[in-house]
Point group: D2
Chain length 342, copies 4
């Protein structure tokens, strides 16, 4: 059994990790930390876990994380980088669901995350945990930077086009819509029900932290600098991201075949038939990215539609997928949930 | 492997049966019928099932249901009663998710369902599939009348009180609230998003078909006639029923202990600690009924709060639970989903 | 023109007052205070008011409220009682939308609101601002205790029955459902979109502050002590309260006629035809309480359905109605909005 | 008083027209037709109108529309073109809220609307009712083609850029999101609450009828052919459209000033301050288009955010605005509602 610890389990990625890991046949949950809630049974905060997770929150001191095989950080940005080295030194693998190890260029990271990085060398070592591009490196990694939610949906949507060099990489656009759980389980006015229900808005058009993360990925796929515009929106969903991607075709190719070929054999990317429109609810609770590619009105504009559940393929599910790969388990262990529709 | 057929798979209970059965390790899905959609792959109508259910809808004629071990009817009322005898005669067990076999008094059934019953003798034979009261009879049954959604939540909430004879059974009130999926997957104006979202209303106050079903159950628990008022409401949830039950205490008892004792050992009824308020989302997608009992302000009014997912413990999940019992499987096989929160 | 001041304009009742008063032809908005937001234009916080309300928030010191004709308190409980005497002394009328002056029994108030009352004599003077029972006293009042949202819906629903003495007042039940804006515009986890959407729950079953307020009203209507149970629920609406009321008939009366007669001539209470079910959206944004009365299944249980918009007839609209009465204006001035459906 | 008739009042644009016209001081509602519902009081179908609209639906024969001053068509496409000529001949002005007169190129119209046009000459005469570009022509018109909802939001967002010639008109993109009321009040599975809630999807990417309407407008603004991609999405709002527009800057201009200047004096277009993000709820129920313009990350991509209420500025409100202009009334008569927030 894999001994698992979770740091910071009081947010949505934390409870989602617990939902998935509670049914993982190879996992033994050892500890879940929250200094503030130490002593409270997890199932008291999250009643869906009643009868399924017996753990109580513990202080970091009591958690004895160094005896785990793997530790997930479901913490705010800036926490994992403080604690990762000690864990790695103790032989513990680390999967960070926050952004501490995602961006290779430390200066860029520091500019967007407004703090100094505690361990640039570990950033260099960390593997970006998108299995569809890094599966082999994940298998051998000690430290995984689990991708952001928007970056997962957007990169998987652009990947075949940019890798194949069939679009103008100087003018890539991602118009992305996220459910409100993406903002986290934090007491804030802007994400109250009475503010976010029956309302739709863009936000952070001037600059969102996922922009440099996605840009970094696209430039790796392209092998060169790209021009990329990212506009996120808040939409009245609990869960779900829908990314609508726009690019100008620079070559005449069978795009449907391109996508199907690229993702053949990928267990968690589903290319829909030509003409289809993926729905976020088709992946609600499931570790799947569903994608459709269009070229409307015979124009040279390519439109890609890409959906994920931001808490599953966009966070906790992908983290478990990475763990499965790292521990040589069947990649879909505990990830077989069917999307909950309706 | 249990060979399973489903009649009428294009509604919400149908797709929910498929979501659950797709991961059932002892089940082989053999056929799902829809005369109207014959030939269409199920996963085309319900894209959450892509890659998980390969079946296409078939006509009843092609489905060869008599070679199944069990057939679920996820059909409108009045269909199962036409086809059940032939299946039973062929040695097939039948679980009807509609109302054809729920009410023992044929005259009452005919009054509420506005049609003549096709097989009163089978009504007499059918076992009401609420495992918490009928587990042994379910085990030996050929024909199960799967309870309605409201009746499951309301009966499980009242059961300990009425069985124990500690409330005035002449004045029982159930104020029940249902998500919109309870109205089914039917093209109707009243359940459009733009009608039902951001709106709350009671309906059918003059009389709802679940009233006689619940009354029948309460009278069995009580061993005598009861006075029972039932007011259903439509609330902007996709899934979920919340029943708030009111009764006048006629004895001074530790109600918390009464409930805990009655449901000790029940795998799918969860009695919350004193003072708690169950939330529908804590059972979203899960085959669980969560219950809390209160006696506010030291009065003699007992208030019971009971929540289920109307499509799971209120329909498809309970049907699978009944099948597990009938086939001597572990009762929670394929029913271990944790409620999806958030 | 009536010179109006608002204390505490950053919550939902504050912005709703502004929405209504911005179009009131007899009102001149003089000041709106918020110590925290002093200097910020109101329309920056509430962009629906752009181009319609030019005021900026000011400090209480700068607001010069004593030169207003009337001041509305849209503040947390406990604020108005500190400032009311000075305003009254300066000849300013006061309408408190919080609970400071609603409960006549100071001991009861102090028990439920967990603070000492600053001015019991003003509680004695204050008029409870439910025009349907106190219109004449409101006309002559200096100080109005604007009713709570639940109390408005519940009292208007019970009023005809209890006044007429046709129900058993020993066992009155109010099962009430509120939209999330009722919890206010406060940063809290429990009312986040991702917590409150697609979820339904009861809360405060052990005791809610509106229980003594409603009980006080019912006892005035009845002229004696009553037995009253109140169970509030949170439902995924932005606005709206639906109260479902239960009582045991003690006399055989034409209830439809009773309600229609009682509310004949009331501009803001609408008794629906027999058999109807009021919907919260039919009063969305409108200063109306719609009511239907039922007696299901020929039983002796009376069921009353009562809906309001918690921010309008349940708060700001009723406050403006009270102001109109106090200043001898047409009672529906600025209150003619039609409910927004869909 | 202007005598008004409405043809086809059982849909959402119909009830919204009634909500607005019920408070219009210069309007006398004479008739509202629905062959199917003839005889039913309008307020029975739409209870928000109780006490405010006394009319019952009448058959077209009984409606005597030729004695009205103006008739609104709130009908499916293809109805208005059958009845308009007779009304115009009788001296009645006509405002069509459907698409019969929007597209000047009859062949294009017939291709997208799949029917033969009944009166191409009236298409030539009809004035496209977007006051921000056609106010003077509207004033003199007999026949108004009221713009579609998406076309209103998208054209008002692109107008300043395209008119000024500061973007590459060969690659214009509109990513638009609509609330579900945009699909109308029709019994359909796809727009049921249980289908559309907590779900987000694109639709009609291959081609939507509003594409040629918008393209026609953009080409008029540009004075030449344009390349235009339009991707509509369904989002779980009751009301609201959010259009996110992308273009490549071809000149270096102060975009904020460009927008503010273009819309200075427009009563129903509100240009937000630089850096702002308009929210759909800020225009809920209001006849306003709010717009913000961005140029993120110093790139040459221009992003415009444009929001309307699809039933108000996107349909019924704009129709009333057109009527006000045609009858020389103050343009904002009956259109002064403040957006309902929350």
């Amino acid at each position: 059994m894999i001994k698992v610890g979770i740091v910071g389990g009081t947010g949505y990625t934390g409870v989602e990790l617990l939902r998935l890991l509670a049914r993982h046949p190879e996992v033994e949950l050892r500890a879940i930390t929250s200094r503030k809630e130490a002593g409270m049974p997890v199932a008291e905060m999250f009643p869906n876990l009643r009868g399924r997770v017996k753990l109580a929150f513990s202080t970091p001191e009591d958690a004895d994380l160094e005896r785990c095989d793997v530790v997930f950080f479901a913490t705010p940005n800036g926490v994992a980088m403080q604690q990762t080295r000690a864990l790695l030194d103790a032989g513990v693998k680390v999967i960070d669901l926050a952004a501490d190890f995602r961006i290779k260029d430390i200066a860029v990271w520091q500019q967007w995350y407004k703090m100094e990085h505690a361990c640039p060398d570990l950033v260099a070592e960390a593997v970006y945990g998108l299995p569809e591009i890094n599966r082999d490196r994940i298998r051998r990694a000690r430290l995984i930077a689990n991708p952001g939610c928007y970056p997962t949906a957007v990169q998987l949507g652009f990947l075949p086009l940019v890798e194949a060099g069939v679009v103008d990489t100087g003018f890539l656009i991602a118009d992305a819509k996220s459910g409100v759980s993406g903002a986290g389980r934090k007491a804030e006015v802007a994400t109250l029900f009475a503010e976010a229900a029956d309302n739709f808005k863009a936000y952070a058009v001037a600059g969102h932290r996922h922009w440099p993360e996605i840009k970094q990925g696209l430039e790796i796929f392209a092998g060169k600098a790209v021009g990329f515009t990212f506009v996120p929106h808040l939409t009245p969903l609990i869960r779900g991201i829908h990314a609508t991607l726009y690019a100008k075709a620079s070559a005449d190719l069978d795009l449907q075949a391109l996508f199907e070929t690229r993702y053949a054999g990928e267990p968690f990317v589903d290319v829909l038939p030509a003409g289809a429109h993926p729905e976020t609810r088709s992946v609600r609770g499931a570790n799947v990215c569903r994608i459709a590619v269009h070229r409307p009105q015979g124009s040279d504009t390519v439109v890609v539609l890409s959906v994920i559940d931001n808490l599953v393929k966009g966070a906790a599910g992908q983290a478990v997928q990475n763990m499965n790969i790292m521990f040589e388990l069947a990649e879909d262990t505990a990830l077989a949930d069917v999307g909950m529709l309706p």
